[in-house]
Symmetry: C2
Subunit: 352 residues, 2 copies
Amino acid sequence: MTHRIALIPGDGIGREVMPSAIRCLNALARRPGLDFALSDFPYSCEYYAQHGAMMPDDGIDQLRAHDAILLGAVGYPGVPDHISLWGLLLPIRREFGQYVNLRPVRLLQGLTSALRDRGPEDINYLVIRENNEGEYSDIGGRLYDGLPEAMAIQANVITRKGSERILDYAFQTAQSRSRQTLAYATKSNGIKHSMPFWDEQVAAMAPRYPDISVEQYHVDILAANLVTHPDWFDVIVGTNLFGDILSDLGPATAGGIGVAPSANINPDPAVPSMFEPVHGSAPDIAGGDIANPIAMIWSVVMMLEDLKEHDAAQDLMGALEAVTAEGRVMTRDLGGQAGTVEFTDRVLAELG
Amino acid sequence: MTHRIALIPGDGIGREVMPSAIRCLNALARRPGLDFALSDFPYSCEYYAQHGAMMPDDGIDQLRAHDAILLGAVGYPGVPDHISLWGLLLPIRREFGQYVNLRPVRLLQGLTSALRDRGPEDINYLVIRENNEGEYSDIGGRLYDGLPEAMAIQANVITRKGSERILDYAFQTAQSRSRQTLAYATKSNGIKHSMPFWDEQVAAMAPRYPDISVEQYHVDILAANLVTHPDWFDVIVGTNLFGDILSDLGPATAGGIGVAPSANINPDPAVPSMFEPVHGSAPDIAGGDIANPIAMIWSVVMMLEDLKEHDAAQDLMGALEAVTAEGRVMTRDLGGQAGTVEFTDRVLAELG
Ligand SMILES: CC(C)[C@H](C(=O)O)[C@@H](O)C(=O)O
Ligand SMILES: CC(C)[C@H](C(=O)O)[C@@H](O)C(=O)O
């Protein structure tokens, strides 16, 4: 079976970690019955400089003909975010209805947590972020712009349908794990309209999952608890913005942002999902063979899971964690000396 | 000079830490030239149970006749947040125009950070939170409530005036500190209308403070950096919600939420400001003499500063930190055995 993968290296270190991903896929493709057709898409800030857009008009349609999308990172100095992100990353998430953003936070064997006295047994949870609506809505604008009375209004739109589908996914994920708990982030004690509505959607769904114990946390306390009690958490679900914040905070306690993978998922297999490291394009270190490829390789693992290649996923993750556990070859952000390429070499050697 | 202080113990542990505050004030009032007129206000969930409102109709006017308000904590099981908080805490902040929420994050001598290898020299910054508008606006509502098409819309309103006054305060505060830097939280890479407007207000004000180096952080990365690089920060300014999240996260790295003080400030001396611990009413531990009074006593220190009683403020803070530095008498959340009363006794003994 051939999996059609669209590769978008993007900008900065996205272009340095994508080769690590390709090497892993090529290694796995030597196995009988596993094959990948890799297509490269140059959509990036450089593409924008040449063509005046981050991707062509039919970019989304070109990507649609694939089973998965692997993205490096997007963004480069001089190109404003509203072009680089709103012209590529966010449209892919939305036009493909990738409403689930999955962000595992797990301290890999051999890595040191920024938290005192915390090891791999303490930090192992999954942040499930709503990825299509909420605080990131396009609705809003300005009044009296440029005058002293100027104001901006941003609408945060939470729909029942949008909440139900992400909560359903979160409850089901909680069911598939041993602890059978679901924590959800809210701020209904302070934010009057959107957050009580969100709480009601959780409350309405909970009876359908009677085995799951549901825990409500206001986002401020939840952020604090990820530092003081990471071991309390198993599955955490949050709106677009809250999920974004918590899923950057979590990795900061688990080896740093160079390690954190993510999946933007539309559970409908007819539509491609997208896999990408949580880190950005990091122009300051780009080109120096410094970037940590772990986040990217782990994102490939998530892609393989989504493609139902469970053995390949498990083997690649096993190889990755064997390398971190051994600790001999580590990237600089993790206190080692290895570059992107050398670290990837080591993972491939382990993968055999 | 007699300072008129309105005391609102509120609910739960609010009622246990307020006596600690009163004892400190009484001790300081033995000094020549320093006097406090303390008035007790029973506004609380218990008051609500008796009167059907968290405070009387003229509650705000009664409080207005004071130089400062000291609040314990509000909230009790069975009374929904939209009553307990929107009927007392939030109206006080807004009707008195307390648009600055000051939340120092500093690891006191003798306390252990939840962060590995971090000591008092690494964690010492001030979160300045916009306290009146933004994500906490009352504007919004629902459509198709109860139907499958249901949705809620929440407006986040950022005004130029509201931004300018908090940013002005933040820049001036940064000027008064040695590092001359101001970090600000935003999310303009993802949130389209409110956040670019906020960024523009920062950019417009920066030239008026040419000595201050301004650093932009998206809130997700900022949250991560408070864990991985707390030593990078000196003064951080954020909108209402972002300030809320960051100022709970910060204390989690600095001894926990039992230690964190706050000030809700209207810089106009004709209007009372309000001082309160960041922690809530913690009904689960209320009544057991377990609550840590540090957050409350430190909030008293902030009140004394605001009342321009700098010597008294410094002495009380000195006494508090002498006790933590010594480490012999500590509350349970900090690994000790002392109750609320015993810890307060020790601070008072130190204050002399
Ligand atoms: C209780 C809640 C409404 C409040 C807030 O979010 O302002 C609290 O978290 C705080 O930080 O004072
Ligand atoms: C770049 C930005 C728009 C994006 C987001 O907030 O979604 C990023 O932080 C992420 O988490 O993928």
